[in-house]
Amino acid sequence: MKISSVNGRPVNLDINTIDLPITAYVSIAHRLTGIILCAAVLVLLWFLHKSLASAEDFAEVQQMLLSSPVKFLMFLFMAPFWYHLVAGLRHLVMDMGIGESLEGGRLGAKIVVALSVVLIALTGVWLWSV
């Protein structure tokens, strides 16, 4: 363990040994979902291109979207999308000075988890009811 040059106390920067608060997990998940969405954009752009190419291609995309594997893939894109969106909105709210305290931050993180779980569940219901 390193010793701080400022006050001589031990410094632990090993994230694996630190008990992280919920705010940390929400932040890490925000970044992780962002990376996943980067990949999603590439796939979705291909789907968009194909769906606009011709009426036949459009029908093919529609058929693909009805198949379980592609539905699941769309769910794997939409779940991080909702989470990333809600977590991002929390940042905008915090930019306005709301929820910046320790307790406010924890509450905001819990709201992000709860709200995105609801949105993800609704998306799943919508996807598999079509």
């Binding site: 590439l42 969106l85 930019d95």
Partner: protein
């Protein structure tokens, strides 16, 4: 501690990137929510409706701006992640070279996707 250079950030400036990340987030949100509600509220969507939506001039502009904003958002976001984790402190002396390679790959992809995306929107 080694200081990470900001030479590969989008605006070369933290305040610019901070504001850009938020402005782009709002535009992307508006675009995807619009598309989401269009799809959700149009039962039995036909090719004519779908093609008609994207080939309209205002939608071409909206799509293009959303794409550019999304690419800026990706650039800033990935830069933040890379400069936080792919650092000499966390990954050793090769981290700067590794981060440069990742950064280059992401920027190249961003540029290619921008060109391809604009090509799709404006060839309709």
């Amino acid at each position: 501690m080694e200081r990470v250079t900001s030479i590969a950030s989008l605006g070369r400036n933290g305040v610019y990137d901070f504001v850009m990340q938020r402005v782009s987030a709002l535009v992307i949100t508006a675009y995807f929510l619009f598309l989401f509600f269009f799809i959700a509220t149009t039962p039995d969507l036909t090719y004519e409706q779908w093609h008609g939506l994207f080939s309209g001039f205002s939608m071409q502009v909206f799509s293009s701006i959303a794409l550019l904003m999304l690419m800026a958002h990706v650039w800033i976001g990935v830069w933040g992640v890379l400069t936080d984790y792919v650092t000499p402190r966390l990954m050793g002396p090769k981290a700067n070279a590794l981060r440069f390679i990742f950064q280059f790959a992401v920027l190249a992809t961003v540029l290619v996707v921008t060109v391809i995306g604009l090509g799709i929107f404006w060839s309709l």
